[in-house]
């Protein structure tokens, strides 16, 4: 009896060890690239060429960060990432706010003011979540040209807002569908109209999904490369395009520390948002599995 219990306990112990071992190994694998980016960005260049890519630096220097921020060359100019970082902020904030607002209203109408055909409209919108953007790039470039917005930040804001609507509508639709219709009916009996109900009943309950939508849109738009590369050029480029250009400039001895510092600068805003509000980020991620 007693030996049986000990062997069971031992078995369990071995099982736990294997589980924790596997998880820690995977965690190390997942952290390794971030680790490598950070330590490479604070090493002097000589040490990078001489030492191991994963080892600690002997001398710590933030020279590469300074260079990546304000003087690295991207093929056309040597201004670092700073102006493109500013571009990305200027374009991301309005696009996030616009697409989230539109999505909130759409979700409200689709769930609480159903009319014949509103489901079809939702279906049409939904496919927009999974559109391979290559299929619309050419006409979009033409259209931006007609509108006089080719190569400008307002043009890029427009593009991100338009193609963001599908996802933001999905978020709010899946959220509002869980709010009882009776609430809306009761408010209607009390004399509240379409707009009153939205502002004073739906919006106050929608705070979590507003956060989810803003975080999702922020991450998508900040990280976008295809639209940025297709619809802007030169000084209007967003940060991802500038980063790619800096990394691919081949002049003299490759400055890997500057590359890694630049990559970190481009990654920091979304990383910070993820660390601060990870719970909401994951909700946005899994909402792509359409059911709310």
């Amino acid at each position: 009896m007693a030996t049986n219990a000990t062997s069971l306990r031992r078995q369990r112990l071995i099982g736990r060890t294997v589980i924790y071992g596997a998880l820690l190994f995977m965690a190390a694998f997942y952290l390794m690239p971030l680790w490598v980016m950070i330590i490479t960005s604070i090493k002097p260049l000589d040490e990078i060429y001489a030492g191991s890519f994963i080892g600690l630096p002997k001398h710590i220097t933030f020279e590469a960060w300074r260079s990546a921020w304000s003087e690295a060359c991207n093929g056309t100019a040597c201004m670092g990432l700073k102006p493109y970082f500013v571009n990305s902020i200027l374009l991301t904030i309005p696009a996030v706010l616009l697409s989230t607002s539109i999505g909130a209203i759409n979700g409200y109408v689709i769930t609480k003011w159903r009319f014949p055909g509103s489901n079809v409209i939702f279906g049409l919108l939904l496919f927009g979540c999974f559109l391979p953007f290559q299929a619309v790039i050419l006409p979009m470039a033409q259209t931006l040209g007609f509108l006089g917005l080719a190569g400008t930040l307002p043009g890029l804001i427009l593009v991100h807002t338009v193609y963001g609507i599908a996802f933001t509508t999905l978020f709010f639709r899946n959220y509002f569908i869980g709010i009882p219709d009776e609430l809306v009916k009761a408010a209607q009996i009390d004399g509240a109209g379409f707009i009153r109900i939205f502002v004073s009943i739906m919006l106050p309950t929608a705070l979590p999904i507003i956060v989810v939508s803003c975080i999702w849109q922020f991450t998508q738009i900040w990280n976008d490369f295809l639209f940025g590369a297709s619809f802007t050029a030169g000084e209007n480029a967003p940060i991802t395009v500038a980063l790619n250009n800096i990394v691919n400039v081949s002049m003299g001895r490759k400055q890997y520390n500057v590359d890694m510092a630049a990559a970190m600068i481009a990654a920091l805003p979304t990383l910070i948002v993820y660390v601060v509000a990870g719970r909401y980020f994951v909700r946005g991620l899994t909402a792509g599995a359409v059911k709310g």
Binding site: N248, Y274, T286
Partner: protein
Amino acid sequence: MPRPIPLSERFANWLPRLVLTPSLLIVLVAVYLFIAWTGWISLSSSKIVPKYDFVGLEQYFRLWSTPRWHTAVANLFIFSTLFLGVTTGLGLLMAILLDQKIRAEGALRTIFLYPMALSFIVTGTAWKWILNPALGVQKMVNDMGWTSFVFDWIAQPTFAIYCVVIAAVWQSTGFAMAIFLAGLRGIDNSVIKAAQIEGAGLPRIYRSIIVPMLRPAFLSVIVLLSYVAIKSFDLILALTGTGPGSATEMPSTFMYSATFRRDQMGVGAASAMMMLMTVAAIIVPYLYSELKENRDGH
């Protein structure tokens, strides 16, 4: 006698539709009309600028007789198969391990998921450096004493595509894990308890009870990752720049370079239409089934 409906009330009835109209118009134009427009360009003789004549399927024949496009399609096939297989398998494993009442589960989840917050350009830049034979993993192992160790896939035309797989798996496994974990948390514990009382071991319970119950999660993961695979573009540009040569060309990069670099707009549009049709063949049935289930469920 029916009361005449006052104007204000009639307006109130129409307001919801009125509010939805701009979005509907935007989507009709920016998605559906633009797709049709691209389709039209793919049937024209457009080269540097769009021309609106009609040459039938000529651009499609030209596309399918381009060796580069064949490379792109073959790469997409290799990449998607491996990417989907490894990401789904590893994601499921992680989710199952994390579901064993683990300490610091939150911290581990955060670590597995953070790559999803990064731009593919950042991921590509980091992995390009790690996989660089002269300075990365190969050099580290060489310096440790194993001097004959070779890991230069990124420089080998036949193997470079596997480097793209490694980086893409690293970036996306957390996503699969999150969906599987949500699925596991939704399974009723009493099912597992009952099976344990019957004397089934944990591996067996997972194999024959729990994993089959995760079918909806599998469907979501596979469909959404296929979409990621087909449209992946930035990762390839940042990691391999479609090289060495054009060994890691993919349909998305082919479309971009044909259209914007090689003045073959018609061929580019044709390749975009091929991509669209592939995505639609996967996504439309999926959306349809999800929506139908939703309606039945409510």
